[in-house]
């Protein structure tokens, strides 16, 4: 089985404050994972570390990661607020071979077609999250990490997200979800990392 992230005794924190202590973790391609835990248990820190977005103290933890396409959708937006939605799509997808018609199809699928020329800075948190999910759908990374997947999304948004997760599962891509409790999005889960333990 092919690992894309592995660490023994993973310890993470900010300054001298420990958030995660001595966690053994190994994540494989084509498997799904869930991270659960109460507030402050380190879910966001862990998902940021997995997605290579963590800026903090790793306390010399031994972290091995494989070079792969990896995206993280978190509660703080990754989109550029000064650009329009369409400009954001083109900016974040310029490395991928995606043409305008594919972008327009996805925009319509996610109900964002009429907002494509609006500045992302004027969007609500829900709209931003929906846009990020749409970009993830187009980009189709090998590993997709979503922190608090249901937060900010309306019923339709949650359905779109669950459809995307199901589609990714069928295609054999990895999804990692982090929330306070399991949201039951996966048909099969390799491991649920409970940070309350």
């Amino acid at each position: 089985m092919s690992l894309f992230f592995e660490s023994d005794n993973l310890t993470l924190g900010y300054g001298n404050q420990l958030v995660i202590k001595n966690l053994d973790i190994s994540l494989n391609f084509s498997k799904n994972y869930e991270i659960t835990g109460r507030n402050g248990s380190g879910k966001t820190t862990l998902i940021m570390c997995i997605s290579n977005n963590f800026i903090g103290n790793t306390f010399n933890s031994n972290i091995h990661r494989k070079n792969t396409t990896l995206m993280e959708i978190s509660s703080s937006p990754s989109l550029v607020p000064e650009l329009s939605l369409l400009e954001n799509f083109k900016y974040f997808l310029f490395n991928d071979n995606i043409n305008d018609s594919m972008i327009f199809n996805v925009l319509d699928k996610y109900g964002l077609g009429s907002f494509k020329t609006d500045l992302v800075g004027d969007f609500s948190s829900g709209m931003i999250k929906r846009s990020e999910i749409a970009i993830a759908d187009l980009k189709n990374p090998k590993v997709l990490c979503i922190d608090e997947p249901k937060v900010y999304l309306d019923e339709n948004g949650v359905d779109l997200l669950l459809n995307l997760i199901t589609k990714r599962e069928k295609e054999g891509n990895t999804s990692i979800l982090s929330s306070q409790e399991s949201i039951g999005a996966f048909k099969s889960i390799e491991r649920t990392i409970n940070l309350n333990d």
Binding site: M71, E72, K90, L93, F94
Partner: protein, 209 residues
């Protein structure tokens, strides 16, 4: 290495934020207009003070430009990872886009200063343009290096560290603007080119590592 979408994004952001164009440049223009009247009570300054003040204005403008819109490390890393953008691509594209914004503004500023003080530089236009180009390139790379690869997120710390480096670059420009002879000008330009290459190589090494 230089990606047009990153440049387009940076130019769009600059155009929409308008920090440098609508805030810094007018402030500098007012300084330029007011300076000769305040110092000599006329629209002319003596040749010996002209060069020093012009270099000072160049340093002030570059510093203001550098700290106008600090990059937030966490946000930048998230953005780059979200788009699978390599740091090296971002760095060079950002340097290029900053140069596109910065270089014409400096040229305009120097022309305005010469105009309002009724004084001119003594060296050739080519030497002036080349020296400013090297200055802009180095200043931009140093600024980005400080912002992206160090934890000096505080504007004051950035300011304190960056200004002495800019003064060093300005010292290299001074003889060129004073109008030394062709051979010495060429030596100084080559020195500036060498420094640019060293900074470029160091950044490249750091990025690849």
């Amino acid at each position: 290495m230089i990606k047009k979408y990153i440049i387009k994004k940076e130019l769009n952001m600059e155009f929409r934020n308008n920090t440098s164009l609508f805030l810094i440049t007018p402030t500098m223009c007012v300084l330029i207009i007011v300076f000769p009247i305040l110092s000599e009570n006329r629209f002319r300054v003596e040749n010996d003070i002209f060069l020093i003040v012009e270099l000072l204005l160049l340093i002030i403008f570059t510093t203001l430009f550098s700290i106008r819109n600090p990059l937030k490390e966490q946000k930048l890393i998230k953005e780059l990872n979200f788009g699978s953008i390599k740091k090296v691509d971002y760095f060079y594209s950002k340097t290029f886009s900053e140069l596109i914004i910065f270089y014409p503004q400096i040229i305009i500023l120097l022309i305005l200063f010469s105009g309002f003080t009724n004084t001119s530089l003594n060296s050739s236009l080519l030497h002036i343009c080349l020296s400013i180009l090297f200055f802009c390139l180095n200043a931009t790379m140093i600024n980005l290096f400080f912002q992206i690869f160090t934890t000096f997120s505080n504007r004051f710390v950035q300011f304190t560290l960056i200004v002495p480096i800019y003064i060093g670059f300005a010292i290299l420009i001074a003889p060129l603007w004073l109008g030394v002879n062709q051979e010495i000008s060429n030596i100084y330009l080559l020195m500036f080119l060498g420094i640019t290459m060293v900074i470029y190589s160091f950044t490249n090494f750091y990025l690849r590592k």
